[in-house]
């Protein structure tokens, strides 16, 4: 799988690090002004408590909208694909400018998920005329979070000018770093396992996984069905683009499902594959799979084939 092609010429993903509320308002204000004056559509996502000051600073305009961070940033993967869908469905030729505040994770795993979201923006949204500005408050974000934000944003807005960030790394490289929090497969006893050598084995495998997931977890049936679609697409890819046998291992507990899919093909799938809206059919299944679950992690198995870990909660 070849790495990402170059981004849209109007794609920007910038970081705004601020120590005070005034700096935030200045940075967002300048962003909004530039967006409106250049003819773009602008969205300001703010926390409820700052919405008032934001409106005072940025005013009203037919091409300016305000939204709530609490409503928009609910879960990393859902937010990513909601943004992508919004951009893909736009009929206006204008650039979309959006500024917001990515939530602070409630624990290390949640923070890593939001960090991966920020990194994934550089792949998932890069094909669109989109200018993003993400605000990070040093008073509420630990230094490690700010440091990681420099690895996930190609540019930083400093005194209202955008500068390249030397610490930025591309999405595939970010995922290889320990702070990206890519998990290793569980070591506990699995709930189910299956080996497939042909696509005709997929239906029986789904039956097995469905029964196991329903008995092992309390996740809603729809979540389980969507998880099965994702596993099916990845397993199908393993058989068709990788090579059989494809081994599936499922771990289900009360609140989560994890499935490992390993094939015996040549491997080499880009860890960031399936994030972009597909131009051709080669990543269609993987792109759809990513939208059905919380996480899809792509790596290499011991035999050198593709190893994909899917999880849903």
């Amino acid at each position: 799988m070849t790495p990402a092609s170059s981004p849209h010429p109007d794609f920007r993903h910038a970081l705004l690090v601020h120590d005070t509320d005034d700096q935030l308002l200045e940075g967002v204000g300048a962003f909004v002004t530039e967006g409106l004056e250049s003819g773009g559509d602008v969205v300001v996502l703010s926390t409820e408590d700052r919405l008032g000051p934001m409106r005072d600073r940025c005013g009203t305009h037919p091409r300016l909208e305000y939204g709530s961070v609490e409503q928009f940033y609910r879960s990393p993967t859902r937010t990513l694909f909601t943004f992508q869908r919004l951009l893909a469905e736009r009929t206006e030729p204008r650039v979309l400018w959006a500024t917001g505040i990515v939530p602070l994770g409630r624990d290390a795993a949640a923070q890593a998920a939001w960090d991966r979201y920020e990194s994934a923006v550089n792949e998932a949204l890069a094909g669109f005329p989109f200018r993003g500005l993400c605000a990070y408050d040093t008073r509420t974000r630990p230094a490690s979070v700010i440091e990681t934000a420099r690895a996930t944003h190609p540019t930083e807005s400093i005194d209202q000018t955008c500068h390249p960030v030397p610490e930025y790394v591309d999405p595939a490289a970010f995922l290889a770093q320990p702070r990206a929090g890519v998990p290793t497969p569980p070591t506990s006893a699995p709930s189910a396992a299956a080996t497939l050598v042909h696509i005709d084995h997929l239906p029986q495998t789904r039956e097995l996984l469905r029964a196991s997931a329903l008995s092992a977890s309390a996740l809603p049936p729809l979540t389980i069905e969507k998880f099965l679609v994702a596993v099916h697409e990845v397993a199908g890819n393993g058989l068709v683009h990788g090579a059989p046998p494809v081994r599936l291992t499922l771990w289900g507990d009360l609140g989560s499902l994890t499935c490992l899919v390993e094939d015996c093909g040549p491997g080499g799938l880009d860890p960031a594959a399936g994030l972009r809206v597909p131009r051709d059919l080669s990543t269609l299944g993987l792109w759809v799979a990513r939208q059905q679950v919380d996480d899809v992690f792509i790596g290499t198995s011991d035999s050198g084939g593709c190893r994909v870990l899917l999880s849903a909660t």
């Binding site: 696509i199 997929l202 239906p203 729809l222 969507k226 679609v229 099916h232 299944g285 059905q292």
Partner: protein, 131 residues
């Protein structure tokens, strides 16, 4: 490789009532010709069976050109290949200046359609479907 016998009634064009095609992996297609023909899918529409749908729609258009209603209420599973078959079938029907409606998709299938940017293909017919 199909494990079951395939019964293809394209060689009996007079059989205007029901065309049933068995394929490995479990897709049954029941077709009722009419001004708006009904194509009922039962089982799994996926990479193993997607072509069966395309072939059934082609045969239907050749035999009884008209509007088509695709009923997914007994369809248990649909993957991306299945979505592609639905989309290309819709394109084919529209190319013959007719319309194709897709109804009865369960929530998980609607999610797959939506994720594939094919959500507008589906008509929401009943309150349960929008749950």
């Amino acid at each position: 490789m199909p494990l079951n016998d395939r019964h293809d009634s394209r060689d009996s064009p007079g059989l205007g009532g029901v065309l049933a095609v068995h394929a490995s992996g479990g897709l049954l297609i029941h077709v009722k010709d009419g001004d708006e023909s009904v194509v009922q899918l039962v089982g799994d529409l996926d990479l193993s069976t997607a072509d069966e749908l395309r072939q059934a729609i082609e045969a239907l258009l050749a035999r009884a050109p008209g509007d088509v209603l695709v009923d997914l209420s007994d369809l248990q599973f649909c993957d991306v290949e299945g979505v592609r078959a639905l989309v290309s079938s819709s394109t084919l029907v529209r190319g013959h200046d007719h319309s194709m409606r897709v109804v009865g998709a369960r929530a998980s299938i609607r999610a797959t359609l939506a994720a594939s940017f094919a959500g507008e293909l589906v008509v929401v017919e009943s309150p349960e479907e929008s749950a």
